[in-house]
Symmetry: C2
């Protein structure tokens, strides 16, 4: 498949696919007349990348998933290692979001921003 076909199939932009290659998460494909020619398995590879991305992995982390970290470790174990760390990060993020919602949902009784500022500031000072 040409890069254009892969792009249409996967829904990614061709530029993104080139970028992924450059970033080291995609293997360098063969070339015909200078053009990248992919086998259909590239779509599966991209699906894994998409999944990793959906899980909040950076491209750097995704690259480590594929290769270059503790060679010889089975992929499932690599996944475990990365997943455990990421879950902790997500828990922390969820905690922050909950706290934020808490803050947002409490209707502000201040009649103007100046009063609001005074209250927030006073509270902040009191917390020290």
């Amino acid at each position: 498949m040409t890069i254009g076909q892969v792009a249409r199939e996967s829904g990614l932009a061709a530029s993104a696919i080139r970028f992924y290659e450059q970033a080291g998460v995609l293997p360098k494909p063969g070339r015909i007349g200078g053009r990248r020619m992919y086998s259909a398995s590239i779509l599966e590879r991209l699906a894994v990348i998409e999944r990793a991305k959906a899980c909040g992995f950076s491209l750097y982390e995704t690259r480590r998933l594929f290769f270059g970290f503790r060679e010889g470790t089975p992929p499932s174990e690599r996944w475990q290692t990365l997943a455990t760390k990421k879950i902790a990060e997500l828990d922390e993020l969820a905690r922050k979001i909950a706290a934020t919602k808490e803050l947002l949902q409490r209707p502000c009784a201040c009649k103007d921003l100046a009063e609001c500022g005074r209250r927030i500031y006073a509270k902040k000072q009191a917390a020290r």
Copy 2:
């Protein structure tokens, strides 16, 4: 107060305070000998900004909170408008995080990445 004092009091870098001014979330302070001179109320203003930031508002959104959107609307109502929108965004984000955790916690039974790719891709295709 000089910008340095404000920085020390608020815990922000002086450069951040200048940046906030430039971004339009802080009023332009008076100058003495070219230097910014702030009244103590700047700390309250900064506290509001900090709070808005903690709530996930961008500086652009925060600026709209202070001025420039539906002039004459009381601040509490502006806050309401922004808060409602932001809560919806947070709910969406929380939903995504939960889904991601779900994904991460399910141990991957695949013996290699190729199999993993085939499974994910097949599932993705089936979903269409």
